[in-house]
Symmetry: C2
C-alpha cells in the first residue's frame, strides 16, 4: 500500500490558514489506499522569538526522512529583515539542495490580470535555487562609517548551472511547444553570463527538438507585460528568477494563485512546496487569505511524488473554481478550501 | 552670450536616425542668442570592427571638455555580447562618474500601455550608475571545463550609495508628492542591503518633508503593474535599476518614449543623455524608428544645463504629438522629428 509522509511547516501570518486548506484538499484528492501521514513543525517568527533559533541541524535531521515538505509562509515584521529569510528559507533550500525552483505561470480563464486584452500566459520558470547572488558570500568592512564597503558575491558553477539547465531542457522537451528561453544579463555580468550561455548552448545540443533563445533580464520584464505568450519554459539564475517570477505571478492572476516547488530532483533530500506569497501579517487570522496558491503547490507536490492524475484533478478543480468567481462575493479561506475539496473528491 | 557645446555619438543601428531628429528639435527650441556647437564622434560597432577600439583614453579626453553628450544607441549583433556594453557604454559611465542614472516614467494621455484600466504613472527612477554588480569585479576559473566557477562581485560603498540617495531625496523633495521609495533586496543581499538601508534612513533625517518607504525588488515589479501610481521617486542599485526601468518603460508607453540621463551632478565630467532603447538593427536605416525617446532625452539634457523652459517646451510638444497619434497612420522618423520641431518653435 502506498503512503505519503509529509512534513508540514505552517509558519507565520496566513501560513497556518492556507496550509490547513492545502491539507484538506490533499486528503480529499488522495485515493483510499494512500495513507497520508503529516508531522507539523513549528518554525518561524514565534520560535525565533522564543528560542533565537531559526533552523538547527536537529531540525534538518528531523525534516530529512519525510517524502516532501509543505510550507505556508515564513516572515514577520517583528523579526529583522534577513534573519528568517537567510536563517530559515534559504538555509533550507541550500541544506536540502533545492536547486530546481519551479514556478509555473498560467493565466486561467476568468482570472483577472493587470494586462489589457486577453493575453495567453502559460509558461514555467525554472529558477536556479542554490547559487548566484543567494550564496551569502560577500561582506562588509568599516560598517556604519562613511568608508563602509559592502560586497555581494554571485557564485556560479558549471556543475550547478548545468544541472538546472538540463532539468529545464527536459521540461521544455516534455511540453507541446518545446521552447526554452535563457534569461540572464550576459552583456554586463560577463563572467557568470558566459558560463550560463556556454553551458546552455552545450546542453542544447542534447535536445535538438527544443527551440532556444536568449533574452536579457531587463528585456524579459518588457516581454512579460507586452508578449507573455512568447514564453514556454524559462531557465534563469537565482536572483533574476526571484524578480521575474513575482512579475510573472502578478500578470497571471496575482500571488494569490502562484505556486512553487523547491525541488531536489535526485530525491536525496525532500523537496519543498510553497505558495509564492509571503505571510501577509496585515490579513493574518481573519480568514481572508486565498488558499489557492497553497492548493496549487500541493498539486506540484503530488506531481513530484508521482501522483499525476491527482495533481491534474486539483488543477482542474482550481480552474473551475476560479472561472466561477467573477461577480460573486468574496469567500473566506475555509470556504474556498471546502469548495476545492468538494470538487477534487467529486 | 550663451552657448552649448555638445558631443554627439549617433552610434549604431537606428542611433544615427534618432539623433538627427533630436538635434533638429534641439536647434528649433533654442533661443536665437544661444549658440549651439556640435561635434560628432564615430563610436560603436563600425569603429570596433575597423580598429578593435571601443573607447580609448584619447576618446575620453576628447569628450571631456563638452558641456554634455547626446548618444543614440550602441550595439550590433556582429559584435560579441559584452564588448561594446562593457567596453563603451559602461566604460563611459564609469570614467565620467555618471552616478545618477535618471529615468523618468510618465504615461502621457493617448499613449498605449499594456496595462488594463487607465493607470496613473508619473515617477522617476534614480538608478545608481557606478557601483553594484556593474563594476566588472569577479572572474572565472577553469573556464570551459566542468569545474568552472564564475563570480560577479557587487561592490557598494557608503560614499557611492550616499551621494545617489541624497540626490534622490532632493529630487523627491522638489516634486509635489515628495515621496521616495528605496528598492533593494535587503532580506537576501544583507551586506549591500544593510548599507543601502542604513544610508537611506540616515539621509532621510535631513529631508523630514519626504515620505519614505522600502520595497523588495521582486515586489516592486508587482506594484509596477498593479499599482504604479504608488511610486513618485525610486532610488535603487545599478542592476535593480536596469531591470525595473525597462519594466517601467514598458508600462508607461514603451521604450519608444523612454528617456534617460547619465548624470555627473558635480559637473566635473559632461553628463550623457540617451534613449533607453537599443540600436534595433532590425529596423535600422528604414526611417521606422520613433525619435521621441531621443527628443525627450534632449529635454533632460536641456534641464541639466539650466534651460528649464526649453525642456518643458519639448515635453509639452511630445505630449501634444502623442495625444494626436491615435488612429493616424504611422509616420517616419523624420516626419515625427519635423512635427516636433515645428511644435517647439511655434
Ligand atoms: C523571502 C525570500 C528569501 C524569497 C527569495 O528571495 O527567494 C522569496 O522572495 C521567494 O521568491 O521565494
Ligand atoms: C546595454 C546595457 C549595458 C545597459 C545597462 O545594463 O545598463 C542598458 O540595458 C541600459 O539600461 O542602459
Amino acid at each position: 500500500s502506498r503512503s505519503i509522509d509529509l512534513a508540514v511547516i505552517p509558519g507565520d501570518g496566513i501560513g497556518q490558514e492556507v496550509v490547513a486548506e492545502g491539507l484538506k484538499v490533499l486528503s480529499a484528492v488522495l485515493p483510499q489506499d494512500v495513507k497520508l501521514e503529516t508531522k507539523e513543525f513549528d518554525f518561524g517568527a514565534r520560535r525565533y522569538h522564543a528560542t533565537g533559533e531559526t533552523l538547527t541541524d536537529a531540525d534538518l535531521a528531523a525534516l530529512k526522512p519525510h517524502d516532501a515538505i509543505l510550507l505556508g509562509a515564513i516572515g514577520d515584521p517583528s523579526v529583522p529583515s534577513g534573519v528568517l529569510e537567510r536563517g530559515f528559507l534559504l538555509k533550507l533550500r541550500f541544506a536540502f539542495d533545492h536547486h530546481v525552483n519551479l514556478r509555473p505561470s498560467k493565466l486561467l480563464p476568468g482570472v483577472a490580470t493587470p494586462l489589457a486584452g486577453e493575453p495567453e500566459i502559460d509558461f514555467v520558470v525554472v529558477r536556479e535555487g542554490t547559487e548566484g547572488p543567494y550564496t551569502g558570500n560577500g561582506g562588509t568592512i568599516r560598517k556604519g562609517t562613511e568608508h563602509e564597503v559592502a560586497t555581494e558575491v554571485s557564485v556560479n558553477t558549471a556543475f550547478g548551472v548545468e544541472r538546472v539547465v538540463r532539468d529545464a531542457f527536459a521540461r521544455a522537451q516534455a511540453r507541446p511547444r518545446k521552447k526554452l528561453t535563457l534569461v540572464h544579463k550576459n552583456n554586463v555580468l560577463t563572467f557568470a553570463g558566459h558560463l550560463w550561455t556556454n553551458v546552455f548552448n552545450k546542453v542544447a545540443a542534447e535536445f535538438p527538438e527544443v527551440t532556444t533563445d536568449y533574452i536579457h533580464v531587463d528585456a524579459a520584464t518588457i516581454y512579460l507585460v507586452t508578449d507573455p505568450a512568447r514564453f514556454d519554459v524559462i531557465v534563469t539564475d537565482n536572483l533574476f528568477g526571484d524578480i521575474i517570477t513575482d512579475l510573472a505571478a502578478a500578470v497571471s492572476g496575482g500571488i494569490g494563485v502562484a505556486a512553487s516547488g523547491n525541488i531536489n530532483p535526485s530525491g536525496e533530500f525532500p523537496s519543498m512546496f510553497e505558495p509564492v506569497h509571503g505571510s501577509a501579517p496585515d490579513i493574518a487570522g481573519q480568514g481572508k487569505a486565498d488558499p489557492t496558491a497553497t492548493v496549487l503547490s500541493v498539486a506540484l507536490l503530488l506531481r513530484h511524488l508521482g501522483y499525476e492524475s491527482e495533481a491534474v484533478r486539483i488543477e482542474e478543480a482550481v480552474s473551475a473554481d476560479l472561472a466561477e468567481r467573477t461577480g460573486k462575493p468574496a469567500r473566506s479561506t475555509t470556504e474556498i478550501g471546502d469548495a476545492l475539496a468538494v470538487r477534487v473528491a467529486g
